[in-house]
Amino acid sequence: MMRFMLLFSRQGKLRLQKWYTTLLDKEKKKITRELIQIVLSRQPRMCSFVEWRDLKIIYKRFASLYFCCAIEEQDNELLTLEIIHRYVELLDKYFGNVCELDIIFNFEKAYFILDEFLIGGELQDTSKQSIPKAIEEADMLQETMEEYMAKPTF
């Protein structure tokens, strides 16, 4: 089971966090700081897996963004890499050429897509067809286009 997923920028800014076990905020912050530091200090072409405490950290970089997952001892490393890849494909399909800013300013969509893909740290569906369909259906339920355009920002 995946314990958590973190998305952060090359500058070490956290962009998305999803925790699949209950932890105190203080612990979450500590873990985040530690992992950002570990992953950012890795050289290119190093192995994408890092042993960390009793977990395995699997990370992959896309442009300016790092995707970093923590999985348990018995979980499959290579397929976790592909979970990351599939998630990026789903984001890409939704946003069209997804970039870091899409995730910052449409974070709720990034969460909804992730929820369709993984629940409680386990894979719900892997189909590239059915997940976007679920999200599209949800979007159809938006009240008006106008409201969608006037998305809360500040």
């Binding site: 089971m1 956290l14 966090q17 932890l23 018995q74 592909e82 969460y111 409680g120 569906d125 679920a134």
Partner: protein, 958 residues
């Protein structure tokens, strides 16, 4: 729009303004419409995700849940998932909204509700929904998407509260979801079934044949058969891996048809690995190899198909030289497991050269680490000399982060496969030579144990250490081993004039002044052993012991040994000497404590109990420590009888007292080698205490650096000062502080109202610290409560060196504050200024008191006025382990009373706090509630301030 603030400050300002605005909207008279509510709740989320704390808006988010507009509901659920609040009132409202959505029969709403339950996963939610969700999962008319969510939601609840998920008729129907037409449903269901099977294997065992037939259909399907469940030309890789994982919960199928089909699957998977790739994309090879590795895990799990095991090994062998680092890493890891199987051990061994090469050439330290693991796993009697030699040579350039582990592995292999013990001795001495800083005491204790137990190697060991000590610079650990072995077996080489007794002594003594206090203490014991072994050295050694630098040494331990040994050598008859200083008898065979240490290194804490790994390591003490005869057990009181025979702990006539068993720190605190006990309790698992390169637990940022011209004012205590204080409430020794420049260790002992603390300041850099000054102060009232005397220290600390400060403490009356330690020195161009709280707390002056149940309760009643009692109810911060709790209470200083409390789960303790002016009797009771993960702590003492202070201190410990 606060996209990216110009500066951190501007961002904070902007956000505070925004928060104030939102707060006023929520509090305003005008009721907000759903849209605005959603907008502001979403803003709050955004602010939270920027890293700011949010403490309001929960109610508004809960209101959104009951909106019938999808987006409003969705944002409400998102807020709840991200910012869960355990407020029970809210949970009730949330549960209500979820209940409505689950009953709505609108699949999209149902999914939202299920996602929310899975995201929060709290016990309250399990109580409300654990019996409902199985019904949704197996109902005939449930949509596929809802089934998927329900399966994983149930899994999450089962993991948090297994007791609340009722097994029943639904379980057999869940197993049949493995046959479902919808692969998404099968994927989700397989995760659930895997978890349930682990706990209830019998109930779910029909899943084996279903999983095999599903797997077989996927494996034999063409790469396009499964449409969008085919991932880069690999059919359903996630589902395949999950099925293979599920099968690993069971032994090989008994039904021969099922078993045959499964073996066919594995063979197909292994065959496919040899086929040319259908795509050059890494996604294709990752997905394909993920299945292969999982199949190999299953083959290893069964460990019954020699043919498959050897094929797996050959396949992994190919990966060892693959250009993808990830594959090399995984192949090394998987092969480690294959090395443990009798069927594939030999096949693994054929790859030894490749693995050795990986150890030497891999650029990534984590891959090299795997290579070292594999060499360790494949080692046996036939290749041990080669592997040990390769690891030793690797050690010279190995990364600091893995040196200690390599040292442990070499030490274990050398011992395990030693046919010839001279080889073993050579190997360990080489270890010390190459990586002395990383050789922990477990390792050098062990070599001494083995030498003492095997008389065929003693002469060789003496000769070898003698030669090793000839080197102009040798590691302190070498001096320790050398000192010990020559002290025991120097006579075996004394016949050779080149290593005559006097030459041996002079060689050892030439190292003396370069060594730290613990080593010097050990050398003094060796000297007195020399007096017995070689009477001709007696006068020389007496002269050394008599010199001012020994007899008046500022270190009380060294001084005392010098005094006692000098007396012993002049008063005792040769017979008494010979008895007291007799050769060490063989140690009882025990499991090597090195193994325990390696295991400990391998499991460094977990994410759920992050702090535990560091703080709670119970001491592993299965091994051997260089014990010295009871005669050398000296007590702090100078009037103790010189031979110490009377003070020898139980065991009557036996002179051999294991002064290092767990009980010792209380009585034998000053026994030779007790410094090693000290360092063992430094609480840095896996770090050699001699090493200054241990990872800084506190970053450099906790140091207040002031410019060279800086003021004289002591810096404020470092931010974590109270944490530091709490860390030492239940123990006396450990690392007080560490940054990139400086490490401060503490050792302290208390008796009645007096205490003595040794502070060890290690310079971690290679540069001198200048103007090194230490100042201990008692702020405010404390100066009337504590009397503290600190000895001055040298103003210069050389690079890599350690200085020691001794502090004498007298407790005049009870106190609450802690004394401050200010450290100033110049490093490079700047003045470093650090202020710490010294961990002197009132409980240090406890004397435990044993009493019977009636006495306890009688006194408990006597202390019943409200001022005398302090009570606190608090949440457990650490796992609630009875043994750990006991150890902490004993460390706290009170006696732990057995069979006093009628509830066996509770702990009660009693003791007296000694101060110069008064003595304060204290009773304590700690009641754990493991269900709520809470404790209730009650302190009753004759003095209000003491009750409060003890309660505050102790409540931070659990």
């Amino acid at each position: 729009m606060s996209r990216v603030g110009k500066s951190k400050e501007a961002e904070i300002k902007r956000i505070n303004k925004e928060l104030a605005n939102i707060r006023s909207k929520f509090k305003g008279d005008k009721a907000l419409d759903g849209y605005s509510k959603k907008k502001y709740v979403c803003k709050l989320l955004f602010i939270f995700l920027l890293g700011h704390d949010i403490d309001f808006g929960h109610m508004e988010a809960v209101n959104l849940l009951s909106s019938n507009k999808y987006t409003e509901k969705q944002i409400g659920y998102l807020f709840i998932s991200v910012l869960v609040n355990s407020n029970s009132e809210l949970i009730r409202l949330i549960n209500n909204a979820i209940k409505n959505d689950l009953a709505s029969r609108n699949p999209i709403f149902m999914c939202l509700a299920l996602h929310c339950i899975a995201n929060v996963g709290s016990r309250e939610m399990a109580e409300a929904f654990a019996s409902e969700i199985p019904k949704i999962l197996v109902a005939g008319d449930t949509m596929d998407s809802v089934k998927q969510s329900a399966a994983l939601c149930l899994l999450r609840l089962y993991k948090t509260s297994p007791d609340l998920v009722p097994m029943g008729e639904w379980t057999s129907r869940v197993v049949h979801l493995l046959n479902d037409q919808h692969l998404g449903v099968v994927t989700a269901a397989t995760s659930l079934i895997t978890c349930l099977s682990k706990k209830n294997p019998d109930e779910f065992k029909t899943c084996v044949s279903l999983a095999v037939s599903r797997l077989s259909r996927i494996v034999s399907s063409a790469s396009t058969d499964l449409q969008d469940y085919t991932y880069y030309f690999v059919p359903a890789p996630w589902l395949s891996v999950k099925l293979l994982r599920l099968l690993q919960c069971y032994p090989p199928p008994e039904d021969t048809a099922v078993k045959g089909r499964l073996i066919e699957c594995m063979e197909t998977i292994l065959n496919k690995a040899q086929e040319p790739p259908k795509s050059k994309k890494v996604q294709h090879s990752n997905a394909k190899n993920a299945i292969l590795f999982e199949a190999i895990s299953l083959i290893i799990h069964y460990d019954s198909e020699p043919n498959l095991l050897v094929r797996a090994c050959n396949q992994l062998g190919q990966f060892l030289q693959h250009r993808e680092t990830n594959l090399r890493y995984l192949a090394l890891e998987s092969m480690c497991l294959l090395a443990g199987s009798e069927f594939s051990h030999e096949a693994v061994k054929t790859h030894i050269e490749t693995v050795i090469n990986a150890l030497k050439t891999e650029r990534d330290v984590s891959v090299r680490q795997r290579a070292a693991d594999l060499l360790y796993a494949m080692c046996d009697r036939t290749n041990a000399p080669q592997i040990v030699a390769e690891m030793l040579s690797y050690l010279e350039t190995a990364d600091y982060s893995i040196r200690e582990e390599i040292v442990l592995k070499v030490a274990i292999l050398a011992e395990k496969y030693a046919v010839d013990y001279t080889w073993y001795v050579d190997t360990i001495l080489n270890l010390i030579r190459i990586a002395g800083d990383y050789v922990s005491e477990e390792v050098w204790y062990r070599v001494i144990q083995i030498v003492i137990n095997r008389d065929d190697v003693q002469g060789y060991a003496a000769k070898t250490v003698f030669e090793a000590l000839q080197a102009p610079a040798c590691h302190e650990n070498m001096v320790k081993v050398g000192g010990y072995i020559l002290g025991e077996f120097g006579n075996l080489i004394a016949g050779d004039p080149r290593s005559s007794p006097l030459v041996q002594f002079n060689l050892l003594h030439s190292k003396f002044h370069l060594c730290s206090v613990p080593t010097r203490a050990l050398l003094l014991s060796s000297y007195i052993k020399f007096v017995n072994l070689f009477p001709e050295t007696k006068t020389t050694i007496q002269d050394v012991l008599r010199s001012d630098s020994q007899l008046r040494n500022s270190d009380v331990e060294l001084q005392q040994r010098a005094v006692e040994y000098l007396k012993l050598s002049s008063i005792a008859s040769t017979d008494v000497l010979a008895t007291v200083l007799e050769e060490m008898p063989p140690f009882p065979e025990r499991e090597s404590s090195i193994l325990a240490k390696l295991k400990k290194k391998k499991g460094p804490g977990t994410v759920t109990d992050m702090e535990e790994g560091k703080k709670e390591q119970t001491e592993v003490n299965g091994g051997v420590e260089p014990a010295v005869n009871a005669s050398t057990v000296s007590t702090p009181s100078p009037s103790a009888d010189l031979l110490g025979l009377k003070s020898a702990p139980a065991g009557g006539g036996s002179l051999l007292v294991d002064v290092f068993s767990d009980a010792v720190p209380a009585t034998g605190a000053l026994a030779p080698g007790s410094e090693d006990n000290f360092s063992r309790s430094l609480d840095l698992p896996g770090e050699s205490p001699a090493s200054l390169l241990v990872d800084a637990t506190l970053g450099a940022d906790t140091v207040t650096t002031v410019p060279a011209a800086g003021s004289e004012d002591p810096a404020l205590p470092v931010p974590d000062a109270d944490d530091l204080l709490n860390k030492f409430v239940c123990k006396n020794n450990g690392v007080l502080f560490e940054n990139q420049l400086l490490q401060i260790g503490i050792k302290s002992e208390y008796r009645q109202n007096l205490g003595r603390m040794y502070l060890f300041f290690g310079n971690k850099t290679s540069v001198q610290f200048l103007n090194f000054t230490l100042n201990v102060s008692c702020p405010g009232e404390l100066q009337n409560e504590l009397n503290i005397q600190a000895k001055p220290v040298e103003p210069i600390v050389e690079g890599g060196a350690q200085v020691q400060q001794v502090i004498n403490i007298e407790c005049l009356s009870d106190f609450t504050e802690a004394p401050l330690l200010n450290i100033q020195f110049r490093y490079g161009g700047t003045v470093q200024n650090i202020t710490l709280k010294l961990p002197i707390t009132v409980n240090k002056f406890f004397q435990p008191t044993e009493m019977a149940s009636e006495d306890f309760f009688q006194r408990w009643k006597q202390l019943s006025s409200p001022q005398q009692e302090a009570q606190k109810i608090f949440k457990a911060n650490h796992p609630m382990d009875t043994e750990v709790t006991k150890a902490k209470l004993i460390g706290f200083g009170s006696a732990l009373l057995q069979d006093v409390d009628p509830n066996r789960d509770n702990f009660v303790g009693a003791g007296v706090i000694h101060t110069k002016s008064i003595q304060v009797g204290c009773l304590l009771r700690l009641e754990p509630n493991s269900q709520a993960q809470m404790y209730r702590l009650t302190l009753r003492t004759s003095k209000e301030a003491v009750s409060k202070r003890l309660c505050a201190l102790l409540s931070q410990q659990f």
